[in-house]
């Protein structure tokens, strides 16, 4: 008896490509104190920019930034000192570095100025403005580009550019040269994807149950789709091996349907410029933000500076909420798909990990039997616990936002990233009175939270206070979304087939398929 051939596919899937290893390296880079060098959101944004080939605007901004730091730095390694000498890369530390450099050295070349929001660069053919908040992303982008193509070619391009960069054409030439290097590297290193096959598989499946152009997506047909993709072929190579990936693909499909038809074609890396006939792309109209109203997980805001300096959620809470928050309002329409992903998706992840580390047969068999699958009722209770935690954190945040002594720097300019989503920002309203009971509750909640950021000493830091102000909006959004989801779960619990019954049925379904996919063969 031996573990089925499917193990090979699991191992194959677990292999890191050079690109994902590189992105993981940048995401994993640490400051001197061992904390992440970049905010989590930066690493996610970087991955999106690279794998979707939407990096050309960033590359152009990067070249302008290199030009500016070259003009205020000292030594042979002027731009390197800025990009790699910065320890924790945040908008505030970048601003401090630039201010100090200019105070000490002044500008070696004219045309540069530091404003409240960022860098203002004046060229012979126009101005270019770059905000401090964007520079963290550009630093991560540079680290990635050097990891791709090597230091020497990048240094040559920058050396050439900074010799002559008195007009923007010089900077665009450098950006184009870098874009070409990145494009060539990605051509060989972007992992092969089966996105087209996946898309067609989903569309074909949905069309089988419909005679018209109108199709339906439900919890049940997502489960049936996944079963159909994997059932009966122990060593079948499916693009939807994991249940969670199948749900994720349906979420992506629904979002693409929602936004795709209203947006223009995706832009690919092409020469920057305004000559459309020559195939150039105007960098300022590239890579627009997500469409207005598109869902963005509120956890992303908590992952961004300055809110990321506060431990609103620990690792377990973060992981427990991640998928639900990522799916957004679609989770309300597909509640069981979320629940199945949380419970049986976790079991499947443990199975693949066990196979990868070549765990004993008995361990794998226990996992295939889903013995440790968390019943839906228990998982629901855990969601309730998270909701209560979010409530406690909200109360603690209320204490911070209403405390009488906000510290000496209340009037200081907030260090809000220039590209931060400010729709969720709750303005500081120090001194506003709360009813006594509410004030006591919020103070108690604050004192009970023994986590980074939740001490009176921490509140002396204006960045921490700003982090609370921004985090407050994200916490409200997260708790509202979780509460909506719990309402749907409560409704399911009151159905004839309550959650226990659904779990019992699902248990057999997943046990059966996991055994086919990963079990022993005669």
């Amino acid at each position: 008896m031996e573990i089925v051939e499917a193990t090979r596919h699991v191992l194959e899937a677990g292999k890191s490509s050079e690109l994902t290893a590189l992105l993981a390296t940048v995401a994993d880079a640490t400051a001197m104190d061992g904390e992440p060098r970049f905010a989590t959101k930066i690493s996610r944004d970087l991955a999106r920019a690279v794998v979707c080939r939407k990096y050309s605007r960033g590359v152009l901004q990067l070249c302008h930034l290199v030009n500016a730091v070259d003009a205020c730095g000292t030594g042979k390694d002027r731009w390197e000192r800025f990009f790699f000498g910065l320890d924790k890369v945040r908008g505030t530390s970048i601003r401090a570095w630039l201010n100090e450099a200019v105070n000490q050295n002044d500008w070696r070349r004219p045309g540069f100025e530091i404003s409240v929001d960022g860098l203002h660069m004046t060229y012979s053919d126009g101005d270019f403005v770059l905000g401090f908040g964007r520079m963290s992303f550009l630093t991560a982008l540079l680290e990635t580009v050097i990891g791709m193509v090597g230091y020497e070619p990048v240094d040559k391009i920058f050396a050439q550019m900074t010799k002559h960069a008195t007009d923007q054409d010089e900077v665009k030439d450098a950006a184009n040269a870098l874009n070409r290097l990145i494009y060539d590297w990605l051509r060989d290193h972007l992992p092969g994807t089966h996105a087209a096959e996946k898309f067609e598989a989903i569309v074909a499946y949905l069309k089988t149950s419909s005679d018209s152009g109108s199709v339906q997506v439900s919890d049940e047909n997502i489960l049936q789709f996944w079963l159909q993709q994997n059932n009966g072929h122990a060593d079948a190579i499916s693009d939807f091996r994991t249940y969670r990936s199948a749900v994720g693909s349906f979420v992506d499909f629904l979002r693409a349907i929602e936004t795709g038809s209203t947006q223009s074609m995706v832009s690919y890396a092409r020469p920057l410029g305004t000559d459309r006939d020559a195939g150039e792309i105007d960098p300022m109209v590239l890579e627009g933000d997500d469409p207005a109203g598109a869902w963005q997980t509120p956890l992303a805001l908590l992952d961004s500076p300055p809110a990321d300096a506060i431990k609103f959620l620990n690792k377990r809470e973060r992981e427990g909420l991640d998928f639900l928050m990522d799916c957004g309002p679609l989770a309300i329409d597909l509640p069981l798909s979320i629940m199945r992903s949380e419970v049986f998706g976790s079991v499947q992840a443990r199975i693949t990990q066990a196979l990868r580390r070549k765990a004993g047969n008995n361990v794998v068999q226990d996992l295939l039997g889903c013995a440790d699958a968390e019943p839906y009722a228990e998982r629901t209770l855990r969601f309730h616990d998270y909701e209560q935690h979010l409530l406690r954190v909200q109360k603690a945040v209320l204490h911070v936002l209403t405390r009488e002594d906000p510290g000496p720097d209340t009037d200081q300019d907030p260090d809000l990233p220039e590209d931060a989503d400010t729709t969720n920002v709750v303005p500081l309203f120090a001194g506003k009175t709360l009813p006594d009971g509410a004030r006591e509750q919020s103070l108690a909640a604050f004192k009970d939270l023994n986590r980074r950021g939740f001490s009176e000493d921490d509140l002396e830091d204006p960045n921490i206070r700003e982090g609370f102000s921004i985090g407050a909006g994200a916490l409200v959004l997260a708790r509202d979304h979780l509460a909506d989801y719990l309402v749907v779960l409560a409704r399911l619990q009151s159905d004839d087939d309550d959650l226990e019954q659904v779990f019992s049925t699902d248990l057999q379904v997943f046990q059966s398929l996991f055994t086919v996919m990963y079990g022993e063969k005669e």
């Binding site: 490509s17 994902t20 991955a47 999106r48 390694d77 390197e80 790699f84 339906q216 038809s261 074609m265």
Partner: protein, 182 residues
């Protein structure tokens, strides 16, 4: 619960498919990143090359196995160093190297007369008034990096006494080694 959708026409479907591909690529990449084994970030390389960090065992190990990383560190050291002494000429590789020279300095290796197990490394600056280097870094062809903190110069001369089996000395004698003075 059911979500009812109308599939778009073929033209719009192409755009939808591109959006799907983007989202799918990002999702796959972020998932793969959780399993990926991080390597050495360039910022870590810079910290070491610039002297901000002087000990990084993992980095030194990685340099021996990753030729691209080794090329990066050599290029970086070449840029930021006070003087770069490249690999010696291939014609003389049959014997240990005793002299390396650039237009800024010369590095001589001389045996100690008093202690047979010890060897002098003497760095003579061609401009005795120049700011003297403080660190010597050797980079062997196989990626092995060695670092030696230098004493202050006396009259344009820096002198270090090393054991004959010191790793820095072995590297200095090797024709395939590049030397950087910082």
């Amino acid at each position: 619960m059911t979500i009812q959708i109308n599939l778009p026409d073929d033209q719009s479907m192409a755009t939808v498919q591109e959006h799907f591909a983007d989202e799918d690529n990002v999702r796959q990449t972020l998932t793969a990143m959780r399993e990926a084994e991080p390597t050495i970030a360039f910022s870590r390389l810079w910290r070491f090359a610039s002297g901000e960090v002087t000990h990084d065992a993992d980095l030194l190990t990685a340099l021996r196995h990753d030729s691209k990383l080794a090329a990066d560190v050599n290029a970086l050291l070449q840029k930021i160093s006070w003087s770069h002494l490249p690999q010696a000429a291939a014609a003389s590789t049959d014997e240990d190297l005793r002299l390396r020279e650039t237009d800024l300095c010369a590095i001589r290796i001389e045996s100690s007369r008093a202690e047979p197990d010890q060897v002098y490394v003497i760095i003579e600056l061609k401009d005795a008034e120049a700011n003297a280097p403080r660190t010597l870094i050797t980079s062997a062809a196989g990626g092995t990096l060695e670092r030696l903190e230098l004493p202050a110069a006396q009259g344009g001369v820096i002198q270090v006494l090393l054991q004959h089996d010191d790793a820095v000395l072995i590297a200095l004698r090797d024709h395939g080694t590049e030397v950087f003075l910082r």
